[in-house]
Amino acid sequence: MIPIASVNPVAKLGAGLLVSVFLIATIDWVSATTALVLELVVIAFMGIEPKRFWLRTLPVWVAAPLTALTILLYGRYDGEVYFQFLLIRISDGSIELALATFLRVLAIGLPAVVLFISIDPTDFADGLAQRLRLPDRFVLGALAAVRMVGLFLDDWRSLELARRARGVADRGRIRRIAGQGFALLVLSIRRGSKLSIAMEARGFGGDTPRTWARESRWGTAEWLTLVVGVVIGVTATVVAVLTGSWNPIVG
């Protein structure tokens, strides 16, 4: 079992990006399939509950065929044309490209989602500030904002009920939602300013160099995660080049 949860989020982000770089460079189906197979092997060893895996990756499984369908109908035509209607033209070329796109969306999307399931926002912020040296005001501000999303959801529900209670929920749904959105904006600005007072009162934004209560660790596991990303990307590219299907986007 790979203890992926304890790996530094920055390394997970890095590994995901590395795989994507290799896969974005080409648009063939061989590299995508190779990467996907290798990724599924790695994911299988992560010990994710099947139900959780399918639930979280559902958007990717929906997005992949939809993207592929678009390419199938409107993509570059080449070889025999099987069907034609207005701008729609299904050909050998568009079929191959659709398949390659389908696999590519999965190969980039699945690991991204799986790696992010286990990312804790606080640890991620620690990593961004301590490892990538992003400005801590920006990182901590964003982190505090993320925590407020739950409050916004509660606000939204209350706003909805309140509009029904005030007798204005029967008509003009679109206008009402726009008004509700504006009300939420007003509420969130007020919440935000209170939060920023609370943060300032605790010394946030001062000139003293900040210390970090939690160390964002970087060791063998993190380097290994990046290496796995590179290995998957390189293997996929090599296999594609050897089979002669590597098809760079640029050039």
Binding site: D120, P121, T122, L143, A144, R147, G150, L151, D155, R157, S158, L159, L161, A162, R163, R164, A165, R166, G167, V168, A169, D170, G179, A183, V186, L187, R190, R191, K194, L195, I197, A198, M199, E200, A201, R202, G203, F204, G205, G206, T208, P209, R210, T211, W212, A213, R214, E215
Partner: protein, 454 residues
């Protein structure tokens, strides 16, 4: 606030009183160094330890009223550590301070406990621990117990005293409810609305000389409790709403409603119980705003008047004359940009004639002391004014049943008294009131029966 001369000695515990708008919060924010130069005007000087409050970050700690707005991070330990990190405290020292602070405020939960799972009283003690970890010489608290249930009030008050005794920190606290703090502070300062201080001295001294006047200005003085309603002859009673095997809930968690829940005209019913017991959910379900999770809320023909027996299926407009709801946070139900327009929303939805609408709005403006604010933006009103407005908007369509969620939270004694008298009159005249409340005095003054959720 202006023209205030005040000298507070190290280790003193000061309670600041004064009516709404006297500038109590502004004073505390200034002490904590969180009033920016671009926010309003300032004159004179304010020094903490002989320096400008912003000169020495972390010397003053601030705890504010709203528990949700001062939780910064997701885990309890990280949240307490936040201030220390900003002050550049070394890592080992931070965690030593975090444990010590949590122990002092009596918050005995795991360091990785999720902060959003804490109760209001726990959140306020968490905020206090976060302040304490910075080892401040001065701790200022802006109505720290106003939004809490009775147990939460005691928890937070006791934690503040423990901290003051063990660290010797100076304490400056603003609160409407004098009884919470009068025994534990050694000085009371009363701010005047026009500027300066009206009184300054020991609690017994100030309260015996100024108690009556303070009470008249909305401060809760134990010896001068707010006026309670004189009840008159009630109108005849009839059942308006009944429930059948009702279960209420939000987001999959269902709670069984008490079986003997009958809503009757000319009666007030109070719903009480600890945080998270589903009080608000029950009230909103009875009010036809949330669908029951199981069973049914049934409106008697006298209330339904042709609109069907399930309130949740009524149109939004049909609710107006039948069941009105006043939300815990008035800001959730504000729709327009002036107080007058806000009151006209309901009558307009009912398509009442202009003359009738104007008559109702004018009457409510007068009755709830909002006339001078008719053209003001509702968002700019004070807490008490917003509360009165939100009740008035519900009354404008004359619903037979009025549902209120924590109507007295954070209110001064004057608004409290006005609300109770208004609601009592409503009930005596044949209306029905369902009120969710932690406020024991409110329940005692108004409710004919009480439902306690576990």
């Amino acid at each position: 606030m202006r023209g205030l001369d005040l000298r507070i000695a190290p280790g003193e515990r000061v309670l600041i009183l004064g009516e709404s708008g006297a500038g109590k919060s502004t004073l505390l924010h200034a002490l904590a160094g969180v009033v920016g130069d671009d926010e309003g005007e300032s004159e004179g000087s304010l020094l903490v330890d002989g320096e400008h409050p912003t000169a020495h970050r972390g010397r003053t700690g601030l705890v504010i009223q709203d528990p949700d707005s001062q939780v910064i991070l997701e885990r309890v330990g990280d949240d307490v550590a936040f201030g220390c990190e900003n002050l550049g405290v070394p890592r080992d020292e931070i965690w030593r301070r975090v444990r010590h602070s949590l122990e002092q405020v009596g918050l005995d939960v795991a360091l990785d406990r999720n902060t959003s799972a804490l109760s209001g009283g726990q959140k306020q003690r968490l905020a206090l621990a976060g302040v304490l970890a910075m080892q401040p010489g001065l701790i200022v608290l802006d109505e720290p117990t106003a939004n809490l249930d009775p147990e939460g009030v005691v928890e937070v008050r006791d934690a503040v005293i423990r901290v003051a005794e063990s660290t010797g920190a100076t304490i400056v606290v603003v609160e409407h409810r004098v009884s919470v703090w009068s025994d534990v502070v050694d000085r009371v300062v009363v701010l005047a609305a026009g500027g300066g201080a009206i009184a300054d001295g020991s609690p017994t001294d100030v309260l015996s000389r100024q108690g009556e006047e303070l009470a008249a200005r909305g401060v809760w003085v134990p010896e001068f409790p707010p006026a309670r309603p004189v009840r008159s002859q009630r109108a005849a009673q009839q059942t308006l709403i009944t429930t059948q095997d009702l279960f209420v809930g939000r987001a999959k968690r269902a709670v069984a409603a008490p079986s003997d829940l009958g809503i009757v005209s000319s009666r007030a019913i109070a719903i009480t119980g600890p945080n998270g017991s589903g009080k608000s959910t029950l009230a909103l379900t009875l009010g036809g705003l949330l669908p029951p999770v199981g069973g049914a809320v049934v409106a008697a023909p006298a209330l339904a008047a042709g609109a069907g027996e399930h309130p949740i299926r009524w149109k939004s407009r049909e609710l107006l004359t039948r069941i009105g709801t006043v939300f815990q946070d008035p800001e959730h139900q504000l729709l327009t940009s002036t107080v007058r327009a806000e009151l006209e929303v309901g009558p307009r939805a009912l398509s009442l004639p202009e003359t009738e609408m104007d008559a109702r709005v004018d009457e409510l403006l007068t009755r709830l002391r909002l006339e001078h604010l008719a053209n003001a933006n509702p968002f700019t009103l004070s807490g008490g004014e917003k509360r009165r407005l939100s009740v008035a908007t519900a009354l404008a369509t004359r619903p037979q049943v009025l549902v209120l969620d924590e109507p007295t939270f954070g209110q001064d004694s004057r608004t409290w008294s006005e609300l109770v008298i208004l609601l009592a009159k409503l009930v005596d005249d044949g209306g029905s009131v369902i009120a969710v409340s932690h406020d024991q005095e409110f329940v005692a003054a108004l409710a004919d029966s009480t439902v306690v959720l576990a």
